[in-house]
């Protein structure tokens, strides 16, 4: 049975955040509340361990292991989720007001856009111009639209678009857009805004003071959506996340970057970019030099290698690689190692080309027909660079030997496959924000969560856009969990690792939800109980845990409405499962994430029930199972007490899933003019 199933970390409930328009100062009431939270957190941890130990050791119905085991695993998962939540909120800090912003700092305000309407971007940009603290405003237009450029210039707003160096190279979406702008500006601090996030004039005055601490790299402020009705049909607001959760993470110095409404220190970002460059270059060199021997060996087996010129060249490349490997081991720098290899290969090629010119024409043809080579252990990007670079070497016989060529390419410091050598914002995930802040923390930088709404954005207005957005967040988080799992990163404290894990963990809850839906159905229809009995022992252990965890949740979210968030974290189980499976395929097998392009304009001409098919089916099955159970009882089959317990469980499932009905019906509401469906997704 579920111990509460919050999955609360990133997807939380409706509005009512206006009260936080001023930063509260910590008073005696918050101290009492914090004490209560800590006691409740302790109770939840103890009661949870007590319950789970009993569940694993004394309650499993092995006759129905195929449901008993998934259920106990799902319960364990949920307990870990709740425990991480408890650790987070039990330390939630209310920061006192920061120092006033010192005068004379230089700040760039970046507004990122891809295809949002020009009017919408300009509304944000004009508001950004009105920010009181002196700054430069820039529109970062990844769509390179002429109308956008004209509108920006007319207002005296800077306009930045990708340079020619990005042509034919990976663009890295929003991270790439920001990285491109970083090399074209030089402000000490950067305020990042999504196209729809209209900033308040005081946004910099109220946040720059934190940077008096030279180790602070990031100040994140809440994301609040102005176009969301009070009942928040799509669960767009996240008052629990932009509240107790970020405040809790903040206390462990783990408040993280959420992509918009945040101020970053350029020095910290550039440092990340440099450290990354060093690491990636080393990795590429070591890999290439390791592979060199087998690449050369395979190339020498090819018939073309019988040509003495080619054979000589291959031998020389092989020697150069062996020498480079030992140089690198002996502590030579990347610049030296690569320079020597390139020089040696160039010299050999020059000699080869001279011989080549003196050859008979038939021999020349033989050399020219060196077909495509065997594939090697480089990724596509590295092989692409071989295609990119055929200027100096295209006369060389090596030019035709793809793998040898790619090998020589890889032994370089240029990183030709990327548009920029230095990529300050992480490009390993579609959610560059979380990955970047984790690297900042690993590097010893501090972050701040500033609990005051300083920008008003627009949330997606149709169901499909909302689902696409959630899928993207989830995919990005799982990508980071797989590519740069916090537990394998050096430099972070255990608490910081726990805080990042809490967010990642919460995105796995789709699998638990399926179990929590299936278990009561199995009992009601077939009488299969995954536990050995609904004994007094079960309730004595389970009910106190349930009460303590609900109470913890209640106290931690005092003053904010979180029911909608709980509903969505449960009801969007198909999205979470899809996110996990696509992200795993992407990271492990290099397949594209393949999320649908978010539609520009509100799509719905009628209610889109099809988008919520799995949830609607689940509800139908739950209702049908309840009917079957009642029939079973009326004919004297089935246990009354067990049926009642499971019907209550079904009731909870239905109340959580029920959110999909108003969500789909919301699609019928006519769109308000001037609002777009895609806002807030960038």
């Amino acid at each position: 049975m579920s111990v509460g199933g919050y999955g609360v970390d990133v997807h939380s409930g409706p509005p009512m955040m206006r009260h936080l328009n001023r930063v509260e100062s910590p008073g005696p009431r918050t101290r009492v509340r914090l004490l209560a939270l800590r006691l409740l957190a302790l109770a939840v941890l103890l009661l949870g361990v007590n319950y789970l130990v009993w569940r694993w050791t004394a309650s499993l119905n092995w006759d129905a292991w195929w449901i008993a085991l998934p259920l106990v695993l799902a319960e364990t998962y949920t307990f870990v989720d709740v425990a991480l939540f408890a650790v987070t909120v039990s330390n939630a800090r209310t920061r006192s007001l920061p120092n006033p912003a010192p005068p004379g700092l230089s700040v760039d305000v970046f507004i990122t856009t891809y295809n949002e309407p020009v009017d919408l971007v300009m509304a944000t940009a004009r508001a950004a111009q009105r920010i009181r603290y002196p700054h430069n405003t820039w529109i970062l237009d990844d769509g390179s639209r002429l109308e956008m450029e004209l509108a920006a210039r007319n207002q005296g707003i800077g306009y930045i678009t990708r340079g020619p160096e990005w042509a034919g190279r990976p663009r890295h979406a929003k991270a790439g857009n920001l990285n491109n702008a970083l090399v074209r500006t030089h402000g000490e601090f950067i305020l990042i805004l999504d196209a729809d996030q209209v900033p308040a004039p005081e946004i910099l005055d109220n946040s720059l003071g934190y940077f008096n601490d030279r180790r602070v790299a990031l100040v994140q402020t809440p994301q609040y959506f102005a176009n969301v009705p009070a009942h928040d049909p799509f669960g767009s607001q996240a008052p629990l996340f932009y509240g107790p959760i970020q405040q809790g993470k903040d206390a462990w110095n783990a408040a993280y970057f959420c992509g918009s409404n945040a101020i970053l220190r350029r020095e910290a970002l550039m440092q990340l970019g440099l450290a990354r460059y060093v690491k990636e270059t080393e990795r590429r060199l070591v890999r290439a030099l390791k592979a060199a021997k087998s690449v050369i060996r395979r190339a020498r087996r090819r018939p073309e290698a019988r040509n003495p010129i080619v054979a000589r060249l291959l031998a020389e490349v092989g020697h150069a690689m062996v020498a480079a490997r030992s140089d690198l081991r002996a502590g030579a720098t990347f610049a030296e190692v690569t320079y020597r290899v390139q020089e040696r290969v160039s010299a050999a090629e020059a000699a080869g080309a001279a011989d080549h010119m003196s050859m008979r024409s038939s021999d020349r043809d033989a050399v020219a027909s060196l077909g495509a080579d065997l594939p090697v252990d480089f990724d596509d990007e590295e092989l692409d660079t071989a295609v990119l670079r055929l200027t100096r070497r295209d006369l060389s016989p090596l030019a035709a030997m793809g793998s040898v060529h790619a090998l020589i390419e890889a032994v370089s410091v240029e990183g030709r496959s990327e548009a920029q050598a230095i990529m300050p914002l992480a490009t390993i995930s579609v959610t560059e924000d979380m990955a970047t802040s984790m690297r900042l923390h690993a590097f010893g930088w501090k972050s701040v969560y500033h609990h005051e709404i300083l920008a008003h954005g627009l949330a997606p207005e149709d169901l499909k856009s909302m689902l696409t957005q959630r899928l993207r967040w989830a995919q990005g988080t799982v990508q980071v969990a797989l590519r740069e799992n916090p537990w394998f990163q050096q430099g972070m404290s255990v608490a910081q690792k726990l805080m990042y894990s809490a967010t990642m963990w919460s995105y796995l809850n789709g699998f638990a939800t399926v179990t929590f839906l299936a278990a009561p159905v199995l009992f009601l229809v077939m009488g299969i109980l995954p536990v050995t009995g609904l004994s007094a022992g079960f309730f004595a252990r389970f009910l106190p845990l349930l009460a303590a965890s609900q109470l913890l949740f209640l106290v931690s979210s005092l003053g904010v409405r979180t029911w909608r968030g709980q509903q969505y974290s449960f009801a969007l189980f198909p999205v979470w499962i899809a996110a996990c499976s696509t992200a795993v395929r992407n990271v492990c097998f290099g397949r594209p994430l393949g999320f649908a392009v978010t539609p520009k304009v509100r799509q719905a001409s009628g209610p889109e029930w099809g988008l919520m098919k799995p949830q609607l089916w689940a509800m139908a099955v739950l209702l049908a199972a309840s009917g079957v159970a009642l029939v079973r009882l009326s004919v004297g089959v089935g246990d009354i007490f067990g049926t009642v317990v499971n019907l209550v469980w079904v009731g909870v499932d239905l109340a959580l899933l029920g959110v999909v009905i108003p969500a789909v019906r919301h699609g019928l509401r006519p769109a308000e003019p001037g609002q777009t469906s895609e806002a807030g997704i960038a």
Binding site: R266, G273, L274, A332, T333, A335, Q342, R392, V413
Partner: protein
């Protein structure tokens, strides 16, 4: 000396350009370095040596510009080396692992002579 100031003097010894940088190499002044390296390469320098002896401090943007300069030199089939870093600059350099990328030579002559 002003905070964001960087002066770049280019001297030639044969086909090698020595770019002597004075002041601070940081987020604002980094473009001066990029410009000086580009000019040296365009003028046909086979090797560009950056003389750090008159450089007081460097930040991450400055080191980023250095990587950018190395990259553009290599893309043009030239080389770039650095020499004469003061202890403070060297410390900043090592902190992010830049000493794995570029060898900080003691002086210009050994930078030019190295293979």
């Amino acid at each position: 000396m002003r905070r964001d100031f960087l002066r770049c003097d280019i001297e030639w010894s044969g086909r090698n350009a020595v770019v002597k940088i004075h002041g601070t190499l940081n987020r604002v002044s980094a473009q001066n370095l990029r410009g000086a390296v580009r000019r040296s390469i365009d003028a046909g320098a086979k090797l560009v040596v950056i003389d750090f002896t008159a450089l007081e401090s460097i930040d991450s943007s400055g080191m980023g510009a250095l990587v950018g300069a190395l990259r553009s030199a290599r893309l043009a089939d030239r080389d770039l080396r650095i020499a004469g870093l003061n202890p403070r600059v060297l410390h900043t350099f090592k902190h992010v692992g830049m000493d794995r990328v570029l060898r900080p030579f003691d002086d210009i002559l050994s930078a030019i002579a190295a293979r």
